[in-house]
Symmetry: C6
Subunit: 255 residues, 6 copies
């Protein structure tokens, strides 16, 4: 009965993630990655670009709004990715939307954020690098005032639509301040974006436990519920497949 | 003792739903469908129109306020509905109330939403297609500022009354940000609309579980409590009848 | 030791309710009926007038502030009450305080509600029909802005005192958005009105359960705690007496 | 070692209450009685005056701020107190601070409450009747706007100090909207008044249970914890002594 | 390795308290005593001064901001302290910062509290009596508006620094409205003061239970956790040592 | 595959902490230490500088924003650190950002805090002492008004970036008012800083229990979950290694 083809998949290459995603992220559509501090949002974003380069030869653009580009480079290096090399090859491009340009110079307009200029720089970076993947980390840090939820929603709609129009697949991160209140801090981002992934880092009985969950893929099936994952210096972001017990040799690293 | 006939039913054709609804939705009256992100609101709305066309030959109008028409077409295609074909036959009409007209052009008046113009377009679409069913997805995304609950209530009363006057049966979706606080985000929509359906997608012990519940049908009996349902690429939105165990072959899809 | 007679009772005629109420509602005094959406507030109000007409020959006035008169007529018909016949006989009078006059015409003053004019219309209807009972459904929908709790309290005091002065027994409904926070949404109505009844519709283990509770009768004894009730197409609003097991033949209707 | 005599007791005469109070309320000092709707605040206030008249020959003044004097008379009559007779004898005086003067006339200044005029009327009533007891029911209803907690505190300090200066023992009631958030709605009244009594009416497993607790007596010992009580048409407000099982003949009245 | 002597202790003389405090309060430093209404804050403050006079010959200043001096005198008398005698001997000085000067005269400036004038009077009282101990009961009641937490913090810093500069050991009380939200109402006082003591009066299974806990002593060890205490007409404020069962003869007083 | 070296470690020298930190704090990066009052934030900050001096010969700057320098000196002395000696040797420099300069003089600009001047003084102190470590205790106390979370975030970004640019490793403390709501009071600090450590002091069954947890190290592995620690007069801040039972001789000190 079908006429129009459904949404395609973009395999992320992130270990184990494509299995629970039913093949990959919905192609050309924005995905929200939300989590508390340290839950692994930035690592997910880094892996998303890195695996695209390593496994599929797809260039990527990383928009840094919280950390500096240099900080991202170092974090990536800590799990074995040589971002600088990719930058030299034009396969990874940073767009610095952080409050500080480079490590030292103070920013011009933090309060009234100039979204138009930012979008122009991102557009340019995408075209120059022929990027297929964009990571934006994080949305929360560029919103100066969170009071007016209506304005926040409108700005987000604009950013997302602008990037969607460029045909890239977007991973946009967003903060939540605890594990037990809905998806995002203001309950807005998850309704605007087509796809929603939650990273959790729950403290129970003095121990932490990391899980990833696909909460929504508009128009595409996916596995549901929470899946364990680890962040590891050798393998990076690894989703643990169902039925696979954590190997004993890893136990000491995790705690 | 009865003189006046009670409210008629409109069978939705959604698999299993009409059984718990006591035959269908109250005809000519608005129904609120509320749920968290990814709970299946848009699918319910799509199925409502699609089943009307396929099973009852009733044309429908789909008002898109969050996603674009194209996004809805693709989601519908993912469960086997060829919306474009129906559009060509004049049996399915989109009214685009989303912030973006088409995929790229920016919208004119997001802040001060022009409800009058929107109602005129919906009215026109209904008359042209002789629609009996209208889906409006979602109410939450067209409210610019959520602060003044009184204004929100008044606008909603107007929209609903306008559509009721046209004699169509309306499915209007609305957001909630978590599963545990009343019916809707601001506690208003459920009192304005005659009928209320809640879709839940609860996380318990790392697993998700989808249920549908009819919370209110003004003036009509219905089954009460939560009922399991699934969203499935082959069968779409399927409410599982009481006493029917989930078939083992489906288990892998659901998780 | 008593000199002055205590407050009289007005038997409602609602099946089983007068038993738990110690004979009926306090006569000539206002009663608040509060509950979540679909909890049965409108049905309680309808039964209150209908039983007065059928069992005691007492005319009644129904002030509709949320639903239209026609919607109430249909709901009443669904449990067997021919409201239109009573209207023709002058025993049931609607006062339409809903945002829409009739089904289609838009309202003039929703924001700054004209309470004086409304009270005059209610006064007129009561005198004309010699009504002993008044139902007002619902208070919440006529309050344009909920922000100023002080103003809300004052308006409510005025409405209630106006109706009390006319010697009628009032049932006034009010919304609550969930089952677990006090009596009413703003914690005000229950202190202003002399009598308070709560209708609950609690979801537990995926099933709904309806109960009615008399929380307060100023100056009169009553049974306390929650009592089960059902809404039924043949019998309407029925409070189930203590020690009466739900008959097996009803089980299928209730769920 | 003591030089100055500690605070004296004023036996209330309320059945069982003086036992838990260590003899009575602290004499000449204000006591706050707080509780949810229907918890028995007004009955406590009525009994406080009535027992003073009946058992100790002490006249009393009842300031009504929520209910009308007539409503209080009827409630009192329902438990056997003939307030009108006492009024004729000059032993019970009402000061009407309710929004409506008498049953029908509308009030002049609800918003900006004229506390000075009210205090003058109370002062006059106390001197005329040589009252030793004053009941003020309720403080919450005369506060027009609850927003400014600082103003509320100051007004309350003034009222209380004014009455304390007259040498009477005051019972002042105040609302709380649910059983689980501190003592009073805004967390202010309990710190201003010297003595605090909480009436509870808790719903557990569908049943209600009334308890009274002395939370604070400044400078005086008292029994602590919650004590069961009942409101009964023959005996009024009765605190049940420890170790006394509720007599079987009462069970049917209580539920 | 130590050069500079650590903070000295000031034994309070309060029965059992110095044991859990590791010898006494940190000398010359401010201690916050916070608790719900009736938790014993004022008694702690009274005992602190009284024991200083009785056991160590140290004069004290009591700043009353909520109750009047006379009310404190009577409370003290109720546990056997003859404050008036000490006042005559110049060993106990009241500084009345309460809204009412004496029992009857209305206060001049409650809203915009004149902290400078108050500090001058306290300073004078300390110098005149050669006080080593100051009790300030309570801080909460002199803050007119609680809205601006920043202003509250600044005022508190000033008061505390002023008293610290005078070399006295300060006990400052502060309100909390329930037992389950942090230390103080606005989460500010505990960070400004060097030492924090919480008095609890928890209701569990209808019974009350008093405990005292030292939450913080900056720069000094102390015992941690909650310790039972009683307020008793003969012995005043008594902390019960670990392993000491409450003597059977006391049980009836406590409940 | 790695090109760029990952972030280096700075061993803190705090007993047991470096083990769970995987060697130490990320070098040259800011770490947030958050906790309720008395949880040990100041001790952590003091130990961080003291161990740097004692074990690694690294000078440090301590910015005091809440307590005075003298208060810190005394607290440090209480666990055996002679800060004054280090000050004389130029190895420990205080920058006094507290509301009071020295012990007695009132501050000039608390409300509109002059961050530029403060940063200049810190900069100067760092260069003069050749400090490698900076402690800033606490951030919360210098924020005059907490209302505008956007402004708070911006100021914090500036402070942190300024210190990062100087190449020092920063420990910045921040308050939380209870143990159960996210990481920091406003949910902002933890996203701005690269590293997050939470100190907890939980009351359970009347006893307190101290734990330290590394919640986030950007770009570096660490042990996860909560670890017990004690504050001890002889050993200071001691994290207890896994599998080590608390020695019996210490039990009496801890409680
Ligand atoms: N083809 C498909 N097969 C199976 N499941 C699907 C398919 N398409 C979508 N889904 C499921 O349906 C979910 C989306 O449902 P839907 O878009 O109706 O949610 P929604 O309530 O409208 O969410 P939002 O509020 O974010 O718009 C997806 O998250 C996915 O789990
Ligand atoms: N004919 C009927 N037979 C059985 N049950 C019915 C019938 N008509 C209505 N009901 C039940 O009564 C419910 C509606 O009750 P009612 O309209 O009194 O609720 P309400 O409390 O007034 O809700 P709202 O606040 O939304 O107005 C319906 O949801 C349905 O479950
Ligand atoms: N004659 C009576 N016999 C037995 N119980 C009675 C009698 N009169 C009243 N009651 C009970 O007392 C309750 C009312 O108590 P009261 O008016 O003192 O409450 P309240 O706390 O003042 O409430 P509100 O805050 O709404 O004024 C009634 O709900 C009823 O349960
Ligand atoms: N003489 C006494 N003998 C025994 N207990 C007493 C005596 N006097 C007072 N109490 C107890 O002490 C309590 C009052 O303590 P206190 O006034 O110190 O409380 P508080 O914390 O200051 O309260 P508030 O915040 O309302 O001022 C009384 O409620 C009572 O239970
Ligand atoms: N010499 C000591 N020996 C043992 N324990 C001590 C010693 N000095 C302080 N403590 C403990 O350390 C606690 C204070 O720790 P610290 O000042 O670091 O807390 P903090 O988190 O900075 O608190 P605040 O937020 O109020 O500044 C004290 O409450 C006490 O329990
Ligand atoms: N090389 C590494 N090896 C193992 N684990 C690491 C490594 N680098 C970082 N981690 C872990 O990853 C966490 C940081 O993840 P990440 O920066 O992606 O979190 P985030 O969600 O982006 O946090 P924030 O919201 O604060 O930016 C660290 O706290 C650490 O536990
Ligand atoms: Mg990040
Ligand atoms: Mg949707
Ligand atoms: Mg209704
Ligand atoms: Mg009352
Ligand atoms: Mg006190
Ligand atoms: Mg500190």
């Amino acid at each position: 009965m079908t006429a129009r083809a459904p949404i395609e998949r973009l395999p992320t290459g992130i270990s184990g993630f494509d299995d629970i995603a039913g093949g990959g992220l919905p192609k050309g559509r924005p995905a929200l990655v939300t989590g508390t501090t340290g839950s692994g949002k930035t690592f997910f974003a880094v892996e998303f670009l890195a695996r695209g380069i390593l496994l599929f030869g797809q260039p990527g653009v990383f928009v840094t709004a919280e950390e500096t580009a240099d900080s991202i480079r170092r974090s990536a290096a800590s799990v074995g990715f040589d971002v600088e090399a990719w930058e030299r090859e034009g396969r990874w491009v940073f767009v610095d939307a952080s409050p500080l340009d480079g490590e030292e110079a103070p920013v011009r307009t933090v309060g009234a954020y100039d979204f138009g200029a930012l979008m122009a720089r991102i557009d340019h970076a995408i075209r120059r690098s022929e990027a297929r993947r964009v990571a934006f980390d994080s949305f929360s840090s560029i919103i100066g005032r969170f009071d007016d939820v209506g304005v926040m929603r409108r700005e987000l709609v604009h950013i997302v639509a602008g990037l969607k129009a460029l045909g890239v697949t977007l991973v946009l991160t967003s903060e939540r301040s605890d594990e037990h209140d809905g998806i995002s801090r203001y309950g807005v981002e998850e309704f605007v974006l087509d796809n929603v992934i939650v990273l959790r880092n729950v403290l129970r009985d003095e121990r932490r436990r990391r899980t990833v969950e696909i909460v929504k893929f508009r128009g595409l099936p996916h596995r549901t519920g929470e899946w364990l994952f680890t962040i590891d210096s050798r393998e990076g972001f690894v989703v643990i497949p169902l039925g696979v017990a954590r190997p004993p040799t890893r136990a000491s690293t995790v705690r």
